[in-house]
């Protein structure tokens, strides 16, 4: 189906025409989505949403991308939202389709990503009667959404969509699900898109409490060894400039969490690498030794803190977060500030005095020399780290990197330098294998002008491998770097270290991925050595369209450094070669 780009006149004309008109719920939904600026839906049709699919072709300004599994639709909406910095939309029918969305919605919830998931349900007359493909998706998704709705009257539909987009995209963003029974799509009502929102129980606090900001500034001004721990909240609040300004003014080194990567330029002299379980030794040392820790837009995840009692033992902790419930949840807090990262940073900067921390930075430099994060294993072994480096070199960092979950995710975090804002997308909180490829689809659709690299392992890749069909059909030019080691690598690593090398169900083997990509009609390249890898990445970059790079890396490479779960910096394992 040819899709015509809608002009502004088209939309205005249509909007003008729609208001006050009587129309079906399906039309009301489409009109409402257009009002919210939706241009893409990742969806899959099914019985009860057919009334909606029947009118979708009337709205050429909405591009519907047919995913091959609803989970991929939710992940794609997630990638679309993060790369495009707007609300992502996914659509599924009732029952099995709605439950297929659950993983993707949960991932978006854990990572605070604004998506609106629309599901159909059986007609209101048979709701609760165990009708064909009926599921209580409203109940199922209650704990995994920021908010959800079951729309039982067509008159409520426009207002609900308005609220859903508002809730998803403001405060601490998150997924909102709207469940719509079949008859609500069919029934008619007069369309009025509300101008205002009335949600008395929902008023996110953006501005920090002035007294608390002063108290935080006071701590920062007195600090001898301060550290900033910046997370996804900085990216979400688009507070990168403010973060740089604060760090430079008071000369504070900045550690970014996994999802905080690209929230602070990694080439900056004050940038420290990711902390935590697979974080840099020097970042963990900095947290261990600092006297003031400023957490901004992050939630002291257990993968960051390790053993909570041993986390930042010498520090006063300032915690800035837009979600009050995150403050004091995992880690003690001396100065809590509820507010949006950008607002609070703007309040903090004038209160903080210019400072230098030469001695502290030199200490950190010492740790960097002692335990560098990014040393490659010597020799010619084709390890996955080499492939990540090759992508970095080929792109010069000018790309959006989307990862799946596992070893390669950690290497992608360690061996790529994220200077470009909004350039790193990963399922951090939930760790949903299968996220990489569909999220990369979403990212590429949102930002077609950008190079999008999906770095995936052969385990996670196979969980949403069917999306190769979506990529081929829609010609979505994502580059897939498949770290093919024939193992569930992180499982194998844990079994090697904690279970005495008893590799239980960690071996994958796997299909011939080049043949597989061929079957889908996608260009595929294979590399078995470092040199081939470099050439393959370059060829993939030069090719205009989707490419799968089957990178047959060494099977038994481990991610280091590693702090075993529940451990602290004292338990850190370094790369064996680095240990002697």
């Amino acid at each position: 189906m040819a899709i015509r780009e809608p002009t502004r006149q088209d939309i205005q004309h249509r909007n003008g025409k729609a208001d006050g008109q009587r129309m079906s719920g399906a039309h009301i939904l489409c009109e409402s989505l257009i009002r919210e600026g939706v241009d893409t839906i990742f969806g899959h049709p099914g019985g009860v949403v057919l009334p909606l699919y029947n009118v979708l072709p009337d709205y050429p300004q909405i591009r519907h991308i047919l995913v091959r599994h609803e989970q991929a639709g939710a992940h794609a909406a997630d990638g679309y939202a993060r790369a495009g910095r707007r609300v992502g939309v996914c659509l599924a029918t009732s029952g099995p389709a709605a439950t297929n969305l659950v993983t993707g919605i949960t991932s978006a919830m854990m990572d605070s990503v604004p998506i609106v998931a629309i599901t159909g349900n059986v007609a209101t007359s048979v709701l609760g009667k165990d009708a064909f493909q009926e599921t209580d998706v409203f109940g199922i998704t209650m704990p995994i959404t920021k908010h959800n709705y079951l729309v039982t009257r067509v008159e409520d539909l426009a207002r609900t969509i308005k609220e859903a987009f508002h809730i998803a995209s403001t405060g601490r963003p998150g997924p909102v699900l709207v469940d719509i029974p079949k008859d609500v799509f069919i029934n008619e009502a007069t369309f009025h898109y509300p101008e205002t929102i009335n949600l008395p129980g929902y008023k996110p606090t953006l501005q920090g409490n002035a007294k608390q900001v002063k108290a935080a500034a006071h701590l920062i001004n007195q600090a001898k060894r301060p550290v900033i721990l910046a997370g996804h909240g900085v990216t979400i609040a688009q507070a990168r400039e403010e973060l740089v300004a604060l760090a430079e003014k008071a000369e504070i080194p900045v550690i970014t969490t996994l999802l905080g990567l690209s929230a602070f330029p990694e080439s900056h002299r004050l940038s420290l690498a990711m902390p935590g379980m697979h974080g840099a030794g020097y970042s963990n040392m900095a947290i261990n030794e600092c006297d003031v820790l400023v957490g901004i837009g992050q939630r002291f995840d257990d993968r960051v803190t390790g053993k909570v009692e041993a986390f930042a033992p010498k520090a006063k902790i300032i915690h800035v977060d837009v979600d009050p419930a995150e403050i004091g949840k995992n880690v003690r807090c001396d100065v809590p500030i509820v507010g949006d990262a950008r607002h609070v940073l703007r309040q903090l900067i004038p209160e903080v005095q210019p400072a230098e921390h030469k001695e502290w930075l030199e200490t950190i430099e010492g740790w960097k020399r002692e335990m560098p994060l990014t040393s490659l294993p010597p020799g010619s072994r084709f390890v996955p780290q080499v492939a990540v480096r090759a992508i970095w070199e080929a792109t010069k960092g000018d790309a959006i990197v989307v990862t799946d979950v596992g070893q390669h995710q950690m290497w992608a975090a360690q061996h790529f330098w994220y200077d470009k804002p909004y350039s790193f997308i990963s399922s951090g909180g939930l760790g949903a294998m299968g996220f990489g490829v569909p999220a990369a689809i979403g990212a590429k659709v949102a930002r077609p002008e950008e190079t999008v690299w999906a770095i995936v392992g052969d385990g996670g890749f196979q969980m949403t491998i069917q999306e190769l069909a979506t990529i081929a059909e829609e010609r979505i030019g994502v580059k897939i770097a498949l770290m093919n080691n024939g193992y569930l690598g992180m499982i194998r690593q844990w079994q090697e270290i904690f279970y005495n090398r008893r590799y239980s169900s960690a071996y994958l083997g796997g299909p011939d991925y080049v043949k597989l990509a061929d079957a889908y009609g996608i260009k595929a390249l294979r590399a078995q050595t470092r040199e081939q890898c470099r050439l393959v990445i370059e060829e993939a970059m030069a090719y205009d369209g989707p490419v799968l790079c089957d990178l047959q890396v060494e099977a038994e490479e481990n991610v280091y450094p590693m702090i075993p779960p529940g451990g602290s910096i004292q338990n850190m394992l370094l790369q064996p070669a680095d240990r002697d």
Binding site: G139, M142, G201, D291
Partner: protein, 194 residues
């Protein structure tokens, strides 16, 4: 220590489910929970009793606030508050014991609301401890059945913090007290950091 929280909720479908679901998911231990209407239409009021020794009460309050349908949460434990619980107790009786049971009920202010050949139903409204004491007293006669509502609470005086907001107040939510604004966090401004 037991904490009593009063939450005002928008009376929307699934709101009780949302609250209970969240408690269960967050592994919060709830001693009792009651829900009912308020002086304002479309606003429900919930009283939750939480044991502070096994559950982080501040987290309970914050997580409640996160729910979109929750308008206001107050910890009234430290306020001058009226606490009440209602119990219906069906006690076995016979010719010999009935008079004594009725007399005991009269002493503690419980009412006899049903009389049958071999049982009476007593209704008692009081603080939980008083009801507990009465139940212990009456138990030897044989309790056939008992139901209790769980605690409800209301702060004394004209300016109760638990009053439900009117529609006008809801339309101007800036007047709504924020949780973090009420919370006092001690900050050491004098001591050397570290």
């Amino acid at each position: 220590m037991k904490h009593t929280l009063v939450a005002l909720l928008e009376d929307k479908p699934g709101v009780l489910n949302r609250v209970v679901n969240m408690f269960s998911r967050r592994a919060f231990n709830i001693e009792s929970l009651t829900v009912g209407h308020t002086e304002q239409p479309h606003i429900s009021r919930m009283t939750v009793v939480v044991d502070g020794t096994n559950t982080d009460v501040e987290q309970v309050v914050k997580q409640l606030y996160k729910l979109i349908d929750v308008l206001k949460v107050s910890d009234v434990t430290q306020d001058k508050t009226v606490f009440r619980d209602l119990a219906l107790i069906k006690v076995s009786t016979n010719r010999d014991s009935r008079a004594e049971i009725v007399q005991l009920a009269q002493i503690v202010g419980a009412r006899v609301v049903d009389v049958a050949q071999d049982s009476v139903i007593l209704q008692m409204t009081d603080e939980e401890e008083a009801i507990d004491a009465f139940v212990a007293l009456i138990r030897p006669f044989g309790i056939k059945e008992m139901v209790r509502t769980g605690r409800v609470a209301m702060v004394r005086g004209a300016q109760g913090v638990t009053r439900a907001p009117s529609f006008e107040e809801l339309a101007h939510p800036t007047q709504r007290p924020r949780y973090e604004a009420r919370k006092k966090v001690p900050v050491d401004l004098t001591g050397e950091a570290g």
